[in-house]
Symmetry: C2
Subunit: 223 residues, 2 copies
């Protein structure tokens, strides 16, 4: 009876870590979309909200870290559960840094909102959309132990990388043609790189998931 | 007797994780310095060596991860040891990504070596030097549980950030004055940001060390 009680409690603790991670992922996704919306719609109030929201992401990181440590200390998880917990510890770090990138986009977006529009934003929102999808799918892959979905995330990363390179080439042309466009181009360039980094974090998560599921480390081999 | 044997073996395992981490950190430090040397001395052969060496860093990451998982699974460490192992798991990820940044510097350096020199490199080697010191001190702080040293690393990060901003301002002037300097300026800009990211990784490690030592999370408060 006592043992059954403990086991139910243990399951509940694992479930809570899983749920908190999904909650954190969902909030990070909203941040990505809001950071871009603030840029495209020149809404600096929304940008400020994104910047302030980073605190909530940091709070969740610390909370999940603590919960993982508690389970490791008190429950001595083995095999699959152990792998799940240690990966959760690594994944929250990636999620937290995605939050940092969103904050960076918000800050730079506010600066851009003060200046005339250089050109309509077309590729950046597409990048943001894909980066958000990658974050969501990487986390889904993690909680469902779905290696196929994780592989898809790794493949999608090339698409975001290509968009980033395309944006950078385009901005280079702008800068060469018109010196007055350089400062704004550099800021857009920075935002593009933030989105590329967000996709890279999602890819890191996905690679770790494949490792968890297949017990095979593809992090450093070609996907 | 049996218990004593097990305990000696456990100590040896912890020591090995510590030593492997320091080995990985030492190798990453050499990479940072070599990546910059390849740029300053226009030595593309050395740049290629830096790029190839990333494999060794990736190998060490996987090795340390496995050792940490094995200790968690078989030894059920508690308290201080548990915190040490879970941090080691997070820290190798930072070290591995520093290796990625060095590889990026190597690649971009090779491209710059093909073009005429834009200007002598003065601040970039200084940034690289400081970033390397920060990585070393963050790891020393970790293995010695030295919160003071970790705090120093966090403070040094401002210095590297300032150098990065100074470089970016300077490059902006170059670009505005001379369109033919834009492409090279962007590459130097990229390298400067890589170094800034390396310092940021060292700072992340240092913040986690302070948390480990003081049991207080300063990751998301002002240092």
């Amino acid at each position: 009876m006592e043992r059954e009680h403990l086991s139910r409690q243990y399951d509940a603790e694992l479930r809570e870590i899983r749920e908190k991670l999904l909650e954190m992922g969902g909030k990070v996704e909203v941040m990505i979309n809001d950071a871009l919306k603030a840029l495209v719609e020149r809404d600096s109030v929304l940008a400020d909200r994104v910047i302030a929201f980073d605190h909530e992401i940091n709070r969740l990181e610390m909370l999940i870290d603590e919960k993982c440590l508690a389970v490791l200390a008190l429950r001595q998880p083995a095999a699959r559960d152990l792998r799940f917990i240690t990966l959760a510890l690594k994944i929250v770090t990636d999620l937290e840094r995605i939050g940092d990138q969103c904050r960076n986009i918000g800050k730079r977006g506010k600066e851009l909102n003060e200046e005339p529009v250089l050109k309509p934003y077309i590729d950046l929102p597409r990048m943001a959309h894909w980066a958000g999808v990658m974050v969501k799918e990487a986390l889904d892959a993690f909680v469902q132990g779905d290696a196929e979905l994780a592989l898809k995330v790794c493949r999608d990363d090339d698409f975001v990388d290509n968009l980033n390179e395309q944006i950078q080439r385009e901005l280079l042309t702008f800068m060469i043609e018109d010196a007055s466009a350089i400062s704004r181009s550099l800021k857009i360039n920075f935002i593009s790189k933030c989105l590329e980094r967000i996709a890279a974090h999602a890819t890191n998560v996905a690679e770790m998931v494949i490792f968890m599921v297949k017990g095979k480390d593809i992090r450093h081999t070609v996907v």
